[in-house]
Amino acid sequence: MGKIEVKICMGTMCYVMGGAELKAVVDTLPPEIRDRVEISYSPCLGTCNNGGEPPYVKINDRLVARVSKTSLLQIIKEELYNAV
């Protein structure tokens, strides 16, 4: 089973607009999920130009806006569910 890729934007815009919270998310992942995701942090994904809806996260190349700690977990779960 392939891992899903979670790329959390750590560009200044995303970081200030709630992305700092997302960084703490890794700690809260249940182990069965932790093993199936590849989390990485990325410099500005280039999507925030005119404000947009940061913070952004890329899940397997799908861009998601306005992510929060809880919604990130939800999105990861959905993606895992769809992957099987």
Partner: protein, 473 residues
């Protein structure tokens, strides 16, 4: 602590938009579009309608521009563009460090115990039987609390077998450690300046973001761009918890915004440690039983206003901010100095320090970094001042000042640290006057220390982790 909430993000978005407009030189015209852009006509109103949402945004903008939001008439008569122009013309003379946006306040019920419709009107009626003030009666088969008689002891809620009684708090009042904020007859909150210690707890607690701090971003931006002015940023040690970067990278990033120089406040902490250690030894030798720190301005304010008996025991040594600013001004008296930190109370402290011209928060710094397209990890490294030790950067964390002092005087003294000014700690501190529990007491008003200040960007767990990492590098 209320993290991950949209009211906080609204404030940050406002700051970002305003600094961007400043940078483009388009504040006066551009500012008027902000309420419409941030609160478009869709079905996502926060309050009753889009107009009120926009009206609230408008008030928050006026506050950020540096004006009082109390004078309701003016606020309705003047356009945002006029306010922006006046702000650029140095007429933004707001004095209050904290003010309440009345338009977005007043949504809270007076704090009370409240019977929900989960009440089944049971035969046992323990709520009624146990109420010490006979404040509970039954009407139509449901319990009902007479708010005139209720003393909020909470017994009824404890004994109700159906958990039908809830307590509805007023978040800001609940958060304030010194009862400085309370309701006026019209339902809105009022901050009593004679009691407020500027800890910032109410501002963080309000789910409407209705409490705004005084901002100097307009003035700082003017100093940054005025060719006849020079400005140095002095940055609190807590900055090292805010980003995942080395201290050198962070300083370089701040410099890239356009400051003439960036200096670590930790450099001033070297002076504080040295002088405070000497002061401690001297005071103990002269027979004083203990001394507390003086670097946390919320704590010093608390002593002034709420625990005057402690005053003789508070150190007279200046805070690291003051020493850092003095060093900058000593080198170049024409240099303007902006302190950048996680702290609200520093805004008050700085009002009495001639060497500090402006105070800016980490949130505001974030807005500048975004507007100026600065990324902490890609600006290179600024060379660090060799005089700064890890003890000085450690000032940002609870226990850090204590470590620095122990490092200076040796561990032959009994020391302790207190973080947070909740009821328990307040009582503990007041008791020290008669029964000192240690010879040196570090006090910080924020739990966890400055890394958990009310104007920070990173949540505490992350800030602590990043702080530790930065200190090891």
């Amino acid at each position: 602590m209320l993290y991950d909430n949209y009211a906080m993000l609204t404030k940050r978005e406002l700051l970002i938009r305003i600094v961007k407009l400043l940078k483009e030189g388009n504040l006066v015209d551009g500012v008027k579009y902000i309420p419409v852009e941030m609160r478009p006509r869709d079905d996502k109103n926060i309050s009753c309608c889009v107009h009120k949402d926009r009206y609230i945004i408008r008030h928050k903008i006026i506050s950020i521009l540096g004006f009082d939001i109390k004078n309701d008439e003016d606020i309705d008569l003047m356009s945002l563009s006029d306010y922006a122009q006046r702000s650029l013309d140095n007429k933004n003379t707001k004095e209050d460090i904290l003010s309440v946006v009345h338009e977005s306040c007043n949504a809270c019920m007076k704090s009370q115990y409240f019977i929900t419709n989960m009440c089944r009107g049971c035969e046992g009626r323990p709520c009624m039987m146990n109420c010490p003030k006979s404040a509970i009666s039954f009407k139509g088969g449901k319990a009902c609390i007479s708010q005139d008689d209720c003393v909020s002891c909470g017994l009824c809620a404890q004994v109700c077998p159906y958990h039908a009684i809830v307590y509805t708090p007023v978040p800001c009042e609940e958060a304030c450690p010194v009862k400085a904020i309370s309701k006026q007859p019209d339902g809105t909150e009022h901050i009593d300046k004679s009691k407020c210690i500027y800890c910032g707890k109410c501002m963080q607690a309000c789910p409407y973001g209705a409490i705004m701090e005084r901002s100097k971003i307009i003035d700082v931006h003017k100093a940054l761009t005025d060719p006849n002015k020079k400005i140095t940023a002095i940055v609190a040690p807590a900055i090292n918890g805010q980003f995942d970067a080395t201290p050198g990278q962070i300083l370089a990033a701040i410099k890239k915004i356009g400051f003439d120089d960036v200096v670590e406040v930790a450099l001033g902490a070297e002076d504080t440690s040295r002088n405070e250690a000497a002061e401690l030894v001297e005071r103990l030798e002269s027979g004083q039983p203990f001394m507390t720190t003086s670097c946390c301005p919320a704590y010093v304010g608390w002593v002034d206003k709420h625990a005057p008996a402690l005053k003789p025991f508070v150190s007279h040594t200046y805070s690291p901010m003051v020493y850092a600013a003095k060093r900058v001004k000593a080198k170049d008296p024409n240099m303007e100095v902006v302190f950048i930190g996680p702290c609200l109370a520093k805004r008050n402290e700085a009002d009495f320090v001639p060497e500090v011209d402006y105070v800016m928060s980490f949130e505001e710094l974030g807005a500048f970094m975004i507007a100026y397209d600065v990324d902490v990890n890609s600006c290179g490294e600024q060379e660090l001042d060799a005089e700064v030790t890890k003890f000085s950067r450690g000032y940002a964390m609870a226990g850090g000042v204590r470590n620095a002092i122990v490092n200076a005087v040796g561990d032959g003294y009994k020391t302790m640290n207190i973080e947070g000014l909740d009821k328990k700690n307040a009582a503990l501190l007041k008791a020290m006057v008669n029964r000192p529990a240690a010879q040196f007491i570090e006090v910080m008003a924020c739990e966890g220390g400055c890394v958990n200040g009310p104007c920070s960007l990173a949540p505490l767990t992350l800030a602590k982790r990043q702080m530790k990492k930065a200190m090891e590098r």
